[in-house]
């Protein structure tokens, strides 16, 4: 009987940990002014919960209990710490001076935003922003983050330690940016989420094409940000991720081979995610304050709503790329626009544009530029040119499924041109 109660309490604490630990941490960081102290406080609070809730019952408001317990435990730790340095006593004085108020729902959500903006502060290196966000905001372990990015765990741990050191020593404030700073700072947050999603959607190297865990983590982050700060570009990014994620099941064969958009089984696309994405795109577009993420999402929406490759509205896609290119000039976007032009006006028109980009010296080491070139030459029956373009792409590609795809294409072409 007692064991049953203990097991029940542990289950309950586990569930509360999953739903509340990030909120509790975010508030503790504000109250304690220190990431490490807050993490220790969080840990101590949950340990105390397992010990005490069995006897005294689960409190009416577990979150408030955890926050105040975590804070007291942290103060306790500071008092007991052997090297009770002057810096610690300064923290302690400040801690004791600040009264613990009941946390309002709004206050707790503000703390979550503070945590996101601090982890994604542009004064931290992009690598550190990603690592810190996944660790502190998403609650992934250091080992999980290291594994996801194929980085040795000690390297990643070091990166996080350095980032926390900079937050403390350069005094990066724990605050939501003021209005004039918000656009730049929001960009930084969106970029981190986008990079996490991209790594999950199209892993940059390694054995598998996608890492579903990172994509879903990015979507969770995107939804959280949307809830806390419904800015048009946050909507646009979430829409973009949902519209790509909707196609996940159709992008690879069961054995992990990649399938191009035009060959995908569209009945496998997740209609609910597409609907959600399209609705978000429309909301973002109607704000008239949208940017590159919303435009990319709008392009993805045109693809997602086409019943077949031939039914795709390529004219609209080209038009959206034109706007995107004006908003954010980049050779990769130019390349994508060229591919869309090839679909609208024929392979020759697309090829001329790709060649112009390569002649300029842009994207010469980008495998997808050569793969796109190879594909258009193939369609035009220029077999030898297609072969050399695919060969170049294969030399540059680092990811196994992509390499296998390019090899298959090369084999097919060699069959059509026996020499």
């Amino acid at each position: 009987m007692e064991e049953d109660v203990a097991a029940h309490v542990r289950d309950k604490v586990d569930a509360i940990y999953r739903s509340e630990s990030r909120r509790v941490l975010a508030t503790l960081i504000r109250l304690l002014g220190d990431f490490d102290l807050a993490e220790e406080g969080l840990h101590d609070a949950f340990t105390a919960a397992v010990e005490q809730w069995g006897e005294k019952g689960i409190p009416a408001n577990p979150r408030t209990w955890l926050i105040s317990t975590g804070r007291f435990k942290a103060i306790d730790r500071l008092r007991r710490s052997e090297k009770f340095e002057s810096a610690d006593s300064a923290i302690l004085d400040r801690l004791l001076a600040t009264e613990m108020h009941e946390q309002s729902e709004e206050g707790v959500e503000d703390d979550r935003l503070r945590l996101i903006f601090t982890c994604c502060h542009p004064a931290l290196s992009p690598d550190a922003q990603i690592a810190l966000t996944l660790r502190e905001v998403c609650g992934l372990t250091t080992e999980e983050v290291a594994h996801a990015f194929l980085t040795p765990a000690p390297t990643l741990a070091q990166r996080i330690v350095r980032a926390k050191g900079k937050i403390r020593d350069a005094r990066i404030p724990y605050e939501i940016p003021s209005r004039p700073d918000l656009p730049e700072r929001l960009d930084s947050v969106l970029h981190v989420i986008y990079l996490v999603f991209n790594e999950g959607y199209l892993a940059s190297s390694g054995a598998s094409l996608t890492r579903a865990d990172l994509s879903s983590e990015a979507i969770r982050l995107g939804k959280l940000l949307m809830e806390l700060l419904p800015e048009p570009e946050a909507m646009g990014l979430l829409a973009l991720m949902l519209l790509h994620e909707a196609r996940r099941r159709s992008r690879t064969t069961p054995s992990g081979e990649m399938i191009l958009l035009e060959d995908q089984d569209r009945s496998l696309w997740d209609r609910r995610q597409i609907e959600e994405g399209v609705e978000l795109v429309e909301r973002a577009l109607s704000s008239h304050r949208f940017g590159p993420y919303t435009l990319q999402a709008a392009i993805a929406a045109v693809h997602a709503e086409a019943s077949s490759p031939s039914a795709t509205d390529w004219a609209q896609i080209v038009g959206l790329y034109d706007v995107l290119l004006r908003a954010e000039p980049s050779p990769v976007i130019e390349l994508n626009r060229a591919a869309a032009i090839a679909m609208r006006d024929g392979p020759e028109a697309g090829l001329a544009l790709i060649d112009a980009i390569l002649v300029r010296g842009d994207l010469v080491d980008y495998h997808l530029a050569h793969a796109a070139r190879g594909d258009l030459c193939r369609r035009l029956g220029r077999v030898q040119e297609a072969i050399s373009a695919y060969r170049r792409a294969l030399e540059l590609a680092t990811q196994e499924p992509e390499r296998r795809f390019l090899s298959r294409r090369l084999d097919e072409l060699r069959l059509t041109s026996p020499r």
Partner: protein, 118 residues
């Protein structure tokens, strides 16, 4: 908290500017200096002589070596600094972004170590 704002800019470009452009620049620096004095954020500032006047000193195993400045190859040179008082890094970034050279060169913002006894 104090931050040192190190001003890096292309001094060759600067020397090529005609006098009226240089004067305009100096005017902007004066205005910036006044604005942070007024806001109470000014602690100190100095303009440096060009990097061609720099000397690098090293002492190794009791031997002193002295060489000419090492910065000839880099595009931007340290040209001066402001020492400012700011609430936190965001506040310091805000001040640094208003230094005239932020538009042509770059500003490195470094927190100053605070000693408890100070």
């Amino acid at each position: 908290m104090k931050y040192l704002c190190l001003i890096y800019d292309n001094e060759k470009e600067w020397q090529k500017f005609p006098k009226d452009v240089q004067d305009k620049y100096m005017g902007e620096y004066m205005a910036f200096g006044d604005s942070i004095k007024k806001s109470g954020q000014y602690v100190g500032a100095n303009q440096l002589q060009p990097s061609s006047t720099a000397t690098v000193v090293r002492a190794r195993n009791g031997k002193v070596s002295t060489t000419d400045g090492p910065y000839a190859e880099t595009k931007e040179q340290l040209g001066g600094y402001y020492l400012i008082e700011a609430k936190d890094l965001n506040d310091a970034i805000q001040v640094a972004s208003r230094i005239p050279s932020a538009r042509s060169g770059s500003i490195e913002v470094r927190p100053i170590v605070e000693r408890a006894s100070a």
